[in-house]
């Protein structure tokens, strides 16, 4: 097994949370280690910790306010114990998630614009987007909102100059080297290229979020008709 990277350090997020930082820039290897470490910490079931959050470059641990000790010390110890014992394999951390997506112009609000900016035909953009294999790098910003890595470098495009006041729920959007999916109608500046009929976050489901960090994602193009019938079934 490849040697595990060492954390840059453990920094406080106030007096009730600590962040084990591995990298200050996005590195997919490091990102995967953060997810594996988060899984190992969760598996220990430490009663002092209420939330373990794998982020892009590290792992945050949120402590129970009743904890009376030093969170930096506790977090550093926990990380050391987990790293020493060995982390679970990346393949065991995430699940496979297939996301049906309709790239019809009606939903792909920015496809024409992206096509112009990249000088690639809309058909080619759709083909490249649907062909790639992706991985969820982090879930954050809003409930069930994934940051998905693995975008074809040819599709790398900056965010829109003017963010939209409302991006419709289910919109799949790209910017730089990532894809996001808007779980609710909300403001956003990413380039919308399609929409999924799936509900990304539903508190009533046993698994409320469609995505978790580490999940392997594929987009499956569907027609508008299939989109509508899939949405009916949600």
């Amino acid at each position: 097994m490849a040697k595990l990277p060492k954390p840059l350090g453990v920094v406080p997020l106030g007096d009730l949370a600590a962040y084990v930082e591995f990298s200050r820039t996005l590195d997919l290897e490091v990102n995967s280690v953060a997810q594996r470490l988060a899984a190992a910490i969760v598996a220990r079931g430490d009663p002092r910790i209420r939330d373990v959050v794998p982020a892009l470059g590290g792992v945050a641990m949120h402590f129970d306010p009743a904890y009376d000790g030093d969170v930096l010390l506790a977090a550093a110890e926990l990380v050391e114990q987990c790293m020493k014992k060995g982390l679970p394999d990346a393949d065991d951390v995430g699940r496979d998630v297939e996301v049906p997506i309709c790239y019809d112009a009606e939903f792909a609000l920015d496809l024409a614009d992206v096509s112009q900016r990249l000088k690639i035909s809309p058909e080619e953009i759709v083909k490249r987007h649907a062909e790639a294999e992706y991985r969820v790098l982090m879930v954050g910003f809003a409930p069930g909102h994934p940051y998905i890595g693995g975008l074809d470098p040819k599709l790398s495009v900056p965010r829109r100059d003017t963010p939209r006041v409302v991006v419709p729920a289910g919109s799949v959007a790209i910017a730089n080297r990532q894809t996001v999916l808007y779980p609710y109608s909300m403001p956003g500046g990413w380039n919308v290229i399609g929409r999924t009929p799936l509900t990304a976050f539903d508190p009533m489901r046993p698994r409320p979020s469609l995505f978790a960090a580490g999940d392997r994602v594929r987009f499956r193009p569907v027609s508008k008709r299939d989109f509508l019938s899939l949405r009916e079934r949600q």
């Binding site: 007096d15 990298s23 939330d51 009743a66 508190p203 009533m204």
Partner: protein
């Protein structure tokens, strides 16, 4: 057995101790902004400290009690003449009209036995951005009916010592109300503190900040001088309750109960956990300034605050004839 909403007030929502363990899915814990006032209100009616109560914001509601109901109002001081910080037996058919807040911003109205509501993901808290939890995921409206979970009000009131009519002859001291402004808020250096230049660092701790009108349960926007930062973008990372982030416009935002779980803005400071409930009592227009403290001091403040709350909870339990834990 229920409470009827005659007038909803500015923003009255059901809140409890919060929804924990879901931040990795992007869901913040939410819950009461001032957890200490929530705990006191609950204790005063004989409930566990984290039970769901009504969080009343700046302008209070008018409620009608359909049965005799033991209630307590804790936190901010509101006009309307209703006794604060003590258990009151609201008689069947009586109305409780909560006016405008005169000190603090949020009060909690707890009822004996709690409200009959379905928990979602382990909590009854209303999460407004996701429109779930509490009562249909929204703030109370005119005509809403909140059923009570238990018919225990009269029994509990009878168990209280030093009763007098429909109230008691004692009250619990409020623990989170601002005495005078600006309030002093302890904060430790944020992860990106060092990436701000010395002038911006000084400005942050020297300024009397004003809570801007566009503040809400997600975050308080602070009006004051712009904090300039030369460095470029940072990698999106985890945030928490009390994180103070600085967007490119230089106006800091203190993250509150419904905060986002990750963010891409640099965090200049983190508010000491002990002081977050006090910040929650600031209405738009109120002022605060930050005092830099060490992590160890923040921990001590947290332990002190917990000890003070525990002492209050014990003395309330004593009034119920319980020895207290």
């Amino acid at each position: 057995m229920s409470v009827r909403v005659l007038r909803p007030g500015l923003l009255t929502t059901v809140q409890d101790q919060g929804r924990h363990g879901h931040q990795h899915l992007g869901l913040s814990p939410g819950g009461a902004m001032d957890t200490i006032a929530l705990a006191l209100a609950n204790a005063l009616v004989g409930n566990p400290p984290g039970m769901a109560a009504l969080e009343i914001t700046v302008i209070g509601p008018e409620l009608l009690f359909e049965e005799d109901t033991l209630v307590a109002l804790c936190g901010a001081e509101f006009l309307g003449g209703f006794p604060h910080n003590r258990p009151v037996l609201a008689r069947a058919g009586s109305k409780l009209s909560v006016g405008r807040a005169v000190r603090g911003a949020r009060a909690y109205l707890a009822v004996a036995g709690g409200f009959w509501l379905e928990a979602m993901l382990g909590s009854c808290s209303t999460y407004l951005p996701g429109a779930f939890g509490g009562l249909d995921g929204r703030a109370l409206r005119h005509g809403d009916v909140l059923p009570l979970a238990e018919n225990c009000s009269k029994e509990r009131f009878a168990a209280l010592k030093r009763r007098n009519g429909s109230t008691v002859r004692w009250s619990a001291p409020p623990l989170t109300l601002p005495d005078r402004e600006p309030i002093v808020v302890h904060a430790v250096e944020g992860q990106h503190f060092a990436s701000f230049d010395a002038a911006a660092q000084r400005t942050f701790f020297d300024t009397v900040w004003r809570v801007a009108p566009e503040s809400n349960r997600m975050g308080f926007r602070l009006a004051g001088p712009a904090l300039v930062r030369a460095d470029g973008e940072i990698l999106s990372g985890p945030t928490c309750l009390g994180s103070v982030q600085v967007p490119p416009n230089g106006a800091p935002i203190a993250l509150m109960a419904d905060h986002q779980t990750t963010g891409g803005y640099p965090r200049i400071a983190e508010i000491a956990a002990a002081d977050v409930p006090r910040v929650a009592q600031l209405a738009p227009g109120a002022t605060l300034h930050f005092a830099l403290c060490s992590l160890e001091t923040a921990r001590e403040l947290r332990l002190d605050s917990k000890a003070r709350l525990d002492a209050s909870l014990r003395s309330i339990a004593w009034e119920y004839g319980m020895s207290g834990k």
